[in-house]
Symmetry: C2
Subunit: 895 residues, 2 copies
């Protein structure tokens, strides 16, 4: 044994290896421990630290959750004994005891992931109650009705959330009892009614589960913790995570907190509030509360709550204390806070605070206001708005004239802004089916209330209309997050699910009828009102200027016609990164010539047909140059396989044959000969120009002539950017480039004009990425076609993934759609390699992206990191890309 090394006996090793800490009292954590404690847990700890009135408890860390999955969905003995230990600590702190009839500890159990996942995770309240404890609670509070109300709530919630029994079975029992007693509200039920409910619930539980409802509070707690862990993996959570790019391996924490009761009578209550208006951003306390209720009542939207301002009259002291706390929290977190509170017998408790979700409009106003108030600087402000949210600003509004002529049939809460118009459907499934089958193009989902199961249906809907629930109801929160228009809480609506219709303002609206809703005003219209494009506010302009100041990458748009180009410029595009010329080929006035070109038997025939297309194409480019001015415009040469331009049905072929004056049988043979087994990997892109150089020649004529004409007409300095698609080998690029240069130089010489032009290439074939060092010397720029690059790198065609991608999500093989968010490990490696090889071979080479990923914030961040010069995306995503690029530059500056 080497000198100086001491052998460590195994028992010492055991002692020395530090035991992993899985549990934390609220007093042990702080706001920076979100990764371990989750958002809710970290903020409960922080509030505890700064002396807020927080019912105490502990947090079971996210690491315990991942360990649970690692152990095959089991809580291991170590963590189990830790939990028991922390229950004891909690009992000491609160002076109450689990199962103690005199002084029972009752707790809430809540999930809390790193990122807020509203409605996705499950909560259990009043845990610790059993037949003995409830008696003690009734005695201690001198409120039997409250005790049994709490108990029946607990039994119901535990059965539903923990044991996954059907919620509606329990609701049916309540409804039966209310009918029997002739009352309308839960609050009208008596203590004895509640007792009876508990008995009936427990009987139902036993019937369904085959065993008694668990009476041991510790057993209840462990089951509840497991249920929270389990819920991390439910399909709704999967959908939410995929939508919000939350990694599966993060896991969720569990917060166990001493219960305080808002349902103990008229000096108790519960509510939620925001320090600023989450819909408008207005600086004023905004929220709602219910007296004699538990938190779930507010969020679920079963009773319609009162605005927070009413609390000032009802409980002035509590109200002022709350306002004070709210201000302190906002100052502390330097952001708008979303808080939950409970008033127990006149005493205020804070149950949660977090940075509040908000509409895009509100996000902008709050960010700008916080700068003006001196709380944050501009860069911080830029980071405060989720780029994806801007979408909602850019969404349609009602056409003002059409709106004038329309009369509302009702009004609900303006829960999520924007206007929508669509056909009525009543279930999330119907919404999905109708849209996916193409039966309806736009739907409005009408529900009593929404629940997490409805997410996918909500995603496809233009708008959401609910009967119950306030601004913080599930429907409202989720719709704002999605940027989908929502009107909530329109209690006048009578929904008849079985007959698929609703009645409002005395009229019946059936499934398929058209209605319109305005999520900014809450108005509902019994007709289709055309919508117009979105407008943007003054805050928006100011905010986006800050973003542009911070940005390092340019943002271009993909646009194929002057209208789109104009829209792109209005949204702040600095150029066009992708103008697809084939879209121009499809237009009715030229498709004939295109088809003539395709079926031509020789070069001469093709050239004749191309000569007919030239003036159209040149005219298109001239119009676009006029819109774009001196901004760069990148024109991609013909890309799709030629058969896409030809008809396939026999009658159409016959018509075309007549039109082109060729034999129909012969034409059919031509069309058949163009058919490909894998057209995505077939005769397309630059392969067309290699086979038929005359196509590239014609397109060059159109580009250069258009530039010459517009230069002459306007005096602008135009530099055409010509982009060759589907290059996989430098010789392909060189071949097509030679045609371009030869043609362009001759035209310019003939015109006696000096004009710079660039010839670049798409990088969308893996081989192009791998040989970027060979290609770069021939290219003025590279533009990543990340759609095709993703297809080829993954080896699946976007058109065919439908058959198996759902299995991939189900089996956790993919967490997100690689066509939506750039796959960094695979495709991203190619992008980074290309950028490096390209720059090494030609330092001045331009690097950009023109695939769909150019408008996706997480992908944009990656492009910033690997040093691209620009991203290009559809015009409506330009503001999103601008903001995403700004945030990426702030987070990952190049200098």
């Amino acid at each position: 044994m080497a000198e100086g090394l001491r052998m460590i006996p195994f028992w010492e090793v055991n002692v020395m290896s530090e035991k992993k800490k899985y549990l934390y009292l609220f007093s042990e954590g702080n706001r920076d421990m979100k990764e371990i404690l989750g958002g809710k847990g970290a903020n409960l700890a922080e509030m505890t630290n700064i002396g807020m009135p927080v019912p105490q408890g502990f947090t079971i860390s996210t690491e315990a959750c991942t360990q649970y999955y690692h152990d095959g969905r089991k809580i291991n003995d170590e963590i189990l004994s830790d939990i028991y230990e922390y229950i004891e600590k909690m009992e000491q702190i609160t002076g109450k005891q689990f199962g103690n009839v005199e002084n029972p500890l009752l707790v809430s159990v809540r999930s809390g992931a790193r990122a807020s996942m509203p409605g996705m995770m499950d909560t259990i309240l009043n845990l610790g109650l059993n037949d003995e404890v409830v008696v003690g609670l009734a005695k201690r509070t001198n409120n039997e009705r409250f005790a049994y109300d709490s108990y029946r709530r607990f039994v119901q919630m535990f059965s539903d959330v923990v044991m996954e029994l059907s919620k509606s079975d329990f609701e049916e029992i309540i409804d039966e009892m209310k009918a029997e007693k002739g009352v309308k509200l839960d609050t009208e039920l008596s203590a004895d009614d509640m007792k009876e409910l508990v008995a009936k619930f427990k009987a139902l539980y036993k019937e369904k589960m085959g065993k008694d409802f668990p009476s041991d509070p510790k057993e209840q707690l462990i089951e509840a913790v497991k249920a929270v862990f389990r819920s991390w993996d439910n399909p709704r959570a999967d959908v939410y995570r995929r939508m919000h790019e939350i990694p599966y391996d993060w896991g969720t924490a569990v917060n166990v907190q001493a219960m305080v009761f808002g349902n103990g009578g008229d000096t108790s209550g519960t509510g939620v509030a925001f320090t600023r208006n989450p819909a408008t951003g207005e600086k004023a306390l905004f929220g709602e509360y219910l007296i004699n209720a538990q938190g779930e009542d507010v969020v679920a939207g079963i009773r319609t709550p009162s605005p927070i301002s009413h609390l000032e009259q009802q409980m002035p002291e509590v109200y002022h204390q709350f306002v004070d706390i709210a201000n302190k929290l906002e100052q502390h977190y330097k952001d708008m806070q979303d808080m939950e509170f409970t008033i127990e017998d006149g005493k205020l408790y804070m149950l949660q605070t977090r940075n509040g979700k908000r509409t895009a409009e509100a996000a902008l106003k709050i960010a700008v206001d916080l700068v003006d108030e001196g709380m944050i600087d501009r860069k911080e402000a830029v980071l405060r708005v989720d780029p994806k949210q801007l979408d909602s600003l850019l969404h349609p509004q009602f056409d003002p004239d059409a709106l004038k002529a329309a009369t509302p049939i009702g009004r609900g809460l303006a829960a999520s802004p924007g206007a929508a118009c669509g056909q009525v459907v009543f279930t999330a499934q119907d919404a999905q089916n109708a849209v996916q089958s193409g039966e309806m193009k736009k739907v409005i989902l009408v529900r009593l209330e929404t629940s997490p199961e409805d997410i996918e249906g909500m995603q496809v809907a233009q708008g959401i209309l609910t009967v119950r629930g306030g601004m913080t109801s599930h429907a409202a929160v989720v719709a704002r997050g999605m940027g989908t228009c929502c009107v909530s809480g329109c209690g006048e609506i009578v929904v008849d699910y079985p007959n698929r219709c609703f009645t409002l303002d005395g009229k019946c609206y059936k499934q398929g009828d058209w209605i319109s809703i305005d999520g900014s005003t809450g108005k509902i219209y019994g007709e289709a009102i055309p919508t117009t494009k979105a407008g943007t506010s003054e805050h928006f302009q100011r905010f986006m200027r800050w973003a542009d100041e911070a940005r390092e990458m340019m943002v271009f748009a993909n646009a194929d016609n002057p209208t789109d180009a104009q829209q792109a410029v209005e949204f702040g595009a600095q150029g066009i990164g992708l103008c697809r010329t084939e879209h121009m080929f499809f237009e009715a006035d030229r498709i004939r010539a295109v088809r003539e070109m395709i079926v031509a038997r020789d070069k001469e025939g093709r050239e004749k047909a191309l000569a007919k297309i030239l003036p159209y194409q040149q005219g298109d480019f001239e119009a676009m140059y006029k819109v774009m001015g001196e901004r760069p415009m990148t024109i991609r040469y013909l890309d799709p396989p030629l058969h896409e331009f030809l008809p396939t049905k026999d009658e159409e072929v016959a018509d075309l044959a007549k039109e082109l004056e060729v034999d129909a049988v012969q034409l059919k043979n031509v069309i058949r000969s163009l058919k490909e087994i894998n057209p995505m990997m077939g005769h397309r892109g630059c392969r067309l120009a290699v086979s038929y150089p005359e196509i590239a020649e014609m397109q060059t004529k159109a580009v250069i002539n258009a530039a010459i004409n517009v230069t002459r007409e306007t005096g602008m300095k135009i530099e055409p950017h010509i982009m060759i698609p589907l290059v996989g080998d430098v010789h392909e690029l060189k071949f097509v480039k030679d045609i371009v240069v030869r043609t362009a130089d001759k035209l310019l010489a003939d015109a006696g004009m000096e004009m710079h032009y660039q010839v670049g290439t798409m990088i969308e074939i893996p081989r192009a990425a791998l040989t970027a060092d060979e290609i770069a010397p021939e290219a003025d720029f590279f533009s990543f076609g990340t759609n095709d690059l993703t297809q080829l790198t993954f080896g699946f065609s976007r058109d065919d993934t439908g058959k198996f991608l759902s299995y991939y999500y189900k089996n956790k093989i993919y967490e997100s759609d690689p066509f939506a968010h750039l796959d960094r490990n695979g495709v991203g490696k190619l992008v980074a390699m290309t950028a490096r090889l390209g720059r090494e071979a030609k330092p001045e080479i331009g690097l950009g992206v023109c695939g769909e990923h150019g408008g996706d914030p997480s992908s944009v961040e990656f492009f910033q990191k690997v040093g691209l010069d620009y991203v290009s995306c559809s015009p409506y995503r330009v503001p999103i890309a601008r903001l995403a690029a700004a945030q990426a530059a702030i987070r990952f500056p190049r200098k």
Copy 2:
């Protein structure tokens, strides 16, 4: 300016920069300068150095050729003046002068690339003749007929080769004259006839070219040099280069050599000879010559030459001198030499020597003999045989019994070994058309003689039969190179091209009739004789043992059934690298169950059908294990899209519906729903197992049960290798591997048996290569599926390249088919990256290749370089792969 640095005035810079050397006298070069001088030039220089009788001259380097292309197909002034300078040097050396009537310098101009390209490049003889010089030559040689014969040859050759006039126009004139004079052979024409021919040829030239035949020898030379350069780029050269993987950018050298004349009378002649028999390898001078002829006459096969041994009687002194030289050359080069010589007026001149092309049989014998003779060592011997050549040994021979019953209808020269049987076609184009259209599966190409234009037709033919030409004729040389059976010089055949038939032995054979030829005996049969698989000689076994000693990679075979597995073992395969299970699915007795599985609506239905397939599949594996013994066998799980197993025609669908007792319309819908837009990138490979884990489960049962049964039965130690196809993400592999492990471990536990098994993955998706470090920890081995990897890396589907690949060759974008030879710059980069990342993550991981490239020598070399453990290829290519791997190991040893 830094001290010690001296400013260099620009005129000095000019002087100091060394002028590039483009030309070399034969005395300036040597055998090691092939890159610059080409093979022919380097060997002419070497022979000059060692004192052989070589007519002197100079070589224009390959760099001059690439400069010519670089300058836009122009010889620049610098090179031009160099050529003039070297003409002067040559005039000094030879004491003759260009255009000097008294003592004219006449030269041959020959191409000479680095690698020999027989028949691909063009030669001009007798250059320097004009109307004046010819008179002087006649006077000087006192042989007017010879002078004008040389002149008419020159005019014809220059017109054809340099000016690209039609050769047949000139031949027509000769034929007319022969008919007119009533003679049969050129040699029977008189001096005046020759004069008349010259006049007629020059008139034809003027008519076609619109100007006089050039009389200035220097102008003739420059045009000839340009023609050689140009010929580097002709389509035949392209085809040859692609076939032999010769890079386009090598270029060709040009050799300008003083003429010696074999056509000056009966003491002159010309011939070609090999130091050993190029067909059998027998150690004996082998060759042929023609008296009173120029080299082209021998090679073109227009007159049938005499065997070299006859020269001993005819010119004993010359013969012995030649034998002496031949021996010296073989000793010098330590290899069998292929020599060209000319006898001018009784004096021997060597015009060329090179390592002779030979049949595979001869190559093996020569290599083995040279070792036995102590001339080379075993490793050198292993390097001496082109692996691709082994193909010919492995080609079919006639079935001996069938052959006994057959009577030959004629006999030609045994020009290239092997037996062939096919339908008669008369043009290369017909051969291509018939085979490509599927009209005929096997064709025998019957020609008067072949020419370089015929190469593509020769490639598709089973065998080649020619009327004219010897063992060194174009047909013979090319066929040997291709390993295609060839019988040449069967003069009894009368071909009637216009009527597409030939007469032999009094019988007429029409296009489409079946004949058989034996390239090892020269026999021709007027019927189809079945062929059997090839046998291998004793040399082969000995030689292959040496190869195996040198080899570092293992060689496996791709085999899907016991017969192929048996063949693979006989050819020396050390295991099976790819057993495709889907081929087993297609067999008639199980396809019904496969289809039942596919159309099943749920897991239960699928499992029921899979249970029916299981015994078949298990039986297949048992049979294969028995053949393979303890050699590794890698079984790939189901790979193709399911629709490949279903019928498409309406009647077939109806039949299937009846068979499966399902509704035909419903079945049609199922089939339609399985249709994919890009099936190559669709629902296949491991995506099937992810969607339907029960398939992987059934296959695992089949593999493991088979291994258990065979182990029990035979006591062999079997280690199944299970391979998951089309993996692109580690989670895919993990998911399927989990199924395999779970299923296998249970079976083994139930059987109470210990058995190691491996689970590995194909690397055929670019993303798998890019993330090999993530995948490696889950994989026991990686096997590169280079076919799919090539498709996806290039972004084109093998099935659809037909439409554009010809344009790619024409435009020099691709020099070879990436499906035949691994693309090192692109696909190879991914392979190397995978090997590196995989080994870094898991040093013990197995690395192999099972795509078609596994049997391609140039690809095998690459796999040796990047450190793979094995290659796997079709059984018939196993010996080729063994030899290629041995050569690669000798050239690029790992230790």
